[in-house]
Each structure stands twice: as C-alpha cells, then as structure tokens.
Subunit: 130 residues, 6 copies
Amino acid sequence: METNRYNKGIEVLQQMVSQETLNATVKHIEKFSPDMAKLIVEFPYGSLYSRPGLDLKQRSLLTIAAMVASGSAAQLDFHVQGALNVGLAPNEIVEAVMHCVSYAGFPKTLDAMFVVMRVFNEQGITYEEV
Amino acid sequence: METNRYNKGIEVLQQMVSQETLNATVKHIEKFSPDMAKLIVEFPYGSLYSRPGLDLKQRSLLTIAAMVASGSAAQLDFHVQGALNVGLAPNEIVEAVMHCVSYAGFPKTLDAMFVVMRVFNEQGITYEEV
Amino acid sequence: METNRYNKGIEVLQQMVSQETLNATVKHIEKFSPDMAKLIVEFPYGSLYSRPGLDLKQRSLLTIAAMVASGSAAQLDFHVQGALNVGLAPNEIVEAVMHCVSYAGFPKTLDAMFVVMRVFNEQGITYEEV
Amino acid sequence: METNRYNKGIEVLQQMVSQETLNATVKHIEKFSPDMAKLIVEFPYGSLYSRPGLDLKQRSLLTIAAMVASGSAAQLDFHVQGALNVGLAPNEIVEAVMHCVSYAGFPKTLDAMFVVMRVFNEQGITYEEV
Amino acid sequence: METNRYNKGIEVLQQMVSQETLNATVKHIEKFSPDMAKLIVEFPYGSLYSRPGLDLKQRSLLTIAAMVASGSAAQLDFHVQGALNVGLAPNEIVEAVMHCVSYAGFPKTLDAMFVVMRVFNEQGITYEEV
Amino acid sequence: METNRYNKGIEVLQQMVSQETLNATVKHIEKFSPDMAKLIVEFPYGSLYSRPGLDLKQRSLLTIAAMVASGSAAQLDFHVQGALNVGLAPNEIVEAVMHCVSYAGFPKTLDAMFVVMRVFNEQGITYEEV
C-alpha cells in the first residue's frame, strides 16, 4: 500500500534529520508541490533507504559518494546531517568525501568538503585528523 | 617515500583483484605509459584506499556509487570484482547499485546493473533476492 | 496500492515498446533482480509517465533530452522506440536530439544521433529532412 | 547570411524573455564579449529554436530537461521565464521538472524545482496541483 | 555569409582529419541529416576552431580536456587524430589526457587513455615516455 | 620522497596564485583536514602540473576546459587567476572558455564566463575583443 511506503519513508527521514531540517526541505517543497514531496518520501526513503541488505550507515556512504560524483553540493548538507544522525563518525564522513577524489576529481570533491566543513562548524563538531 | 606509496598501492590492489585482472588493466597501461600506471597504483590505491578510517568494504561501496553516478560503466567490472574480493556479499553489491538510482537516475544505474549481471555470470555467482 | 502502481506502469510500457523489447529489457532484469525490475515499472512508468499534466509525446521529448544531456546513449534505443510508438514523428525525434546540442554539446548529441540512425535503420524508417 | 541568423535569434529571444531579462543576460555578456553574445543569439536561438519541426513549447520542454539533467540550475530561471512566455502552463513546467527525476536523480531535480519555485514566486504565479 | 562559415569549417576539418575519417563521420551523418552535418561543420569548426586568439594546437588541447571531463570517449578518436594532424606530439596528447585525472577522475581519464592507445596503435605511432 | 613531491607542488602553486589566494584555499582546507590539503598539493600540483611535456600555459588551458566541461564553476576563479599568472593573456582565457561551448554546451560555458568576468573585474583587467 502507498500509505505504507509513505510511512516507511517518513520513519527513515526522522532517523536521518531533525524536524527543523525536515520542515525546511520536504515540508517546504510540499507547500509548493505535494506530489513532488510525496515522491521524495516514497521513493528514496520509502522504497530504497528502508530496504534490508544494507544498513543506514552504508546507505549514507553511498549517497555521499553519488552526490559528490554528480556535483550536487547544494543539497549535500542534508545528507551530511543524515550521515551524522545514523551514526557515521565525523571522521568517516570526511574520509568518505576524500575517497571520492579519485573518481570525481578535485573540484567536485572540494565543493563537497566545503559543505562538510560548514555543517560541522554549524553543529559545533570538532573533527581531528589522526 | 614514493616506493612506500607504490608498494602500499600494489598491496591493496592484490587484495582487490586477481593477478590476471591486474595484468589486463594496470600492467596493460604500464606497457604504454609507465607514469600513468604509477599514478593509478600510488594515488587511488596507495594514497586513499590504504588510509585508515574506513575499511575496504566501505571504500568499495563509495567507489561503486561514485562510478554509477559519473556514468563510468566501462570500468565498473574491475570494481565489482574488487568488491567481491574485499568481502562484500553479492547481495550488498546489487543493493548498492540499486540505492544509487535516486541520485544517478535509472539509465546510469541500469548501465551499472548490467555490468554487475555480467560479472556475476562470468564468475558463476548465483544471486537470489529475498 | 502497489499493485495499482505496477499495473499502471506496465500499461504505459505496453504503449511504448513491443513485447519483444519489454522481454529483452525489463523482463531480462527481472530474472536477475525482481526488485530492480519492479522499481523500473513502478517509478518512471507507474508514478511519472502515467501522471496527467503532460501527454506521452511530451514526456518522450523530456526523456530524450534528459538522456542526451546525461550521456546515456546506451539505453536510448528503448526510448527512441518508445517515442515512435507514442506518436512522435521520426522528424520530431531527430529535431529533438538536434535541439539538445546547445545544452549537451556535440559529442553527447552525436552519440545520441547515431542511436537514432541505428533504430530508424533497423525499423526501416525512412526519414527525410525538409 | 549571418545577419539573417542573428535577426532570427533576436526574434526568438524576444518571444521568450522580457527586454529586462535580455538586458541582464545577453546584453550583459555583450559588453564583455560581443562574440560570445553573438554566438548565443545565432546558435541556440538563430539556428535551433527557429527551426521548423518542433514548436517553441516543445523546444522549451527539451531545454528544461536538458538543463535539469546537466545540473545547470544557475541559468534555469531564464528558461522558466521563456517557457511561460511561449505558452507552457505553470503546471506543465512543474510536471516537466518532476518527470526528469527518473533520469537526472533527485538532487539535480530538486535544485531545478527550487528555481521554478523562486521564479513563480517572483512573478506572482500561483500554481495548484490537482 | 553562411557559405563562408561552412567553407571555413571544411577548411579546418581538412587540416584535422583525413578524407577517409571525414567521410566516416561528417559525411556519414550528412546522408541521414544534412542539417545536423551542416551544424557540425559551421559551428565547432566554422565558428570556433577558425577563430583567431588560439592556434589549432591549443584548441586541440582544450577539446581533449573537455571530452575527457564529459566522459565522451566514443568520439575521442576523431580528436586524437585531429590533435596529431595539427601538430601535437604523441607525448603531448598522452600528457594532456593524464593531466585531466585531477579534474575528471581516474575512470573517465582511463577510458580516454584507452582510446589514445588504440589510435596510436592503429596509426603505428610509437610513443615512449621519458 | 613525499617531501619532494609536496615541495614541488608548493612551488607550482606559488607560480600560479598569490599567497593570499593560497591562504584562502589550500591553507583554509589544511586547518580542517591536513591530509586533504596535502593531497591537493601533492597530486594535481606535485605530480601532474610539475611534469615535463607540457608547460604551465598548456596545463592551464587543459584545466580550464576540464572544469568548464564538468560544470565546476565554483572553483574556477582560482584557475583563472592561475592562468593569468602563468602567462596566458586575458584574451586567451576568454577564447578558451568560448571554445568549450561545442563540447560543454552553453549553460556550463556561460557559468564559467561569468566567473572570468568577475575575476577580470576584481583584478581591474580590461579585456577587448578584436
């Protein structure tokens, strides 16, 4: 049932981002296009993130790499917040972005790293390299 | 020392692919451009894959997602073999490619899935969805 | 209901491609990953192509442009066949690909044009420019 | 004749955007590089948009899809304004962007949707989903 | 005058590739779509390659980098042949592709290097790294 | 030795950008992730830009084209400054960006041209087309 898929999606989203971020993103789009918002909830979250086979940490790594490689820095902050909330350590997130440089090249990787730096800064996360 | 970095890279590569695959790829390029082959060994493998912070399974997931998203199906078979050898289950590899559809779209994801299907078939891997 | 969405997707697909093409693509994937095949049917076809607001001809134009621009020539033949079956004239398909050159550049546009040439040739479609 | 092609381009542009927008874009570039501005007028507008075979509404759909798929959100506002002026309904524009999600993925599609939201808001366009 | 632009384009193309290659590419497309072939001649060659300000060697370098970065390996052989004919040394072409790895990542760069290897091999070019 | 590669990279960087720019970019990243900063210095600059075979002007052209084609406008200002400092004339930089339009399409090329316009303006560079 659709309802089921939507509910599963919302459940995943609530594990990933704060209510405030959810309001500023999915709920913000919903006011303009309820159908677009429904697709976001049902498809990436209700149909893929909620599948078994990989856990949320693994899925967050995949999402970060896919977004770095497609140059989608503008929405990466959402997924950095998500990665932190599902339990990836700050160090793992930086490492994940750095890993992508071989595949996505330096410019896209640096665009992404600047987003990570900003989100960590906003959330008061201190990150130290070993 | 460079030697160190090169050696580290070869070490990682040997965990990831068979000697036969290594010969058909890195060694094949080496005959044409020794410097390009050296960059491949030293940079993605000697400088990134060999870093601590993420294990080889996590790095394989990142690589797969980055390659799906940048539409690089032509060289994905190398990395599917790598993913299997570092210990990702066939099911996790299919799941990883499927996850990318939200970020990379269907055409690039399907191009990648066809590569996975071919590699599994060549290696006699039977994969069953739950 | 999911069933509903799946059925809608199959309905759209049957208007777009021959049973033979459907078997060689969606059904072929289904044998490997039933869940991936289900996503293909339910999402692009059951959730988007089947929406009101734009007709199948308009959606075919959008799909062609999106695929030219993302360099996805490998799966374009499916969508050229689809465009013909939903009623776009051969001339409109060539024109659509040509239009994309301003946005996608010549290499990607030519890769796509070669696919159009091949499909037209296979289907015995004679196309003449005015 | 070149003059002819330039004039045809200007004619198309005047159907697509206001004089104010034309000044802020093409004329703005012209002050820096007259040759670049000439290319813009003569090539996409004078040589492609002005061709028969597809009307301006169909060409606007193709342009939107190509731009969503290549992640070019920065200049999409020009083309959203153009789409409205050649007669696409607000609803068709939103639908066109939404359609692209299967090919371009969610991040690029949402980047584009935010541009549509901004342009509609600036122009006082009220859009309601059925 | 258009004729002028077309003639300039043909002139540049004749400096870049053999008549045989020209027949297999531009003339091949011309049989299907004379207008597409005309765009190819007039735009990249008649309007850009033929401009002063950069010589053909510099333009060949730019083209190679742009094609590596957009993952357009399928048509790179044409431009490798062109680069050789306008006077770039084999060594400069390999170096140009290698340089792109920082911006385009390894997979796209290697796809391109394999094309260079094939063209050099077909043309009996022996290349030796210093 | 690594030190050697790092030193070579810094040497190249000092020929390309002012100390102020270096502080705002590489040194800025270094405070967050010393390892990422080290990769930037050692890889594109210490391992590629510093190679013989192509001079810094040729490498700057390649970098510009690769960045235009991958839509990486956000970091292009660094490389426009670099291009000027290694001796490319303002006219050659504009010409290089313009050349890319055939391969990268108008939107990405214009995004890049706006960066060139901004950098020239900030540096008081007057550019006049012949």
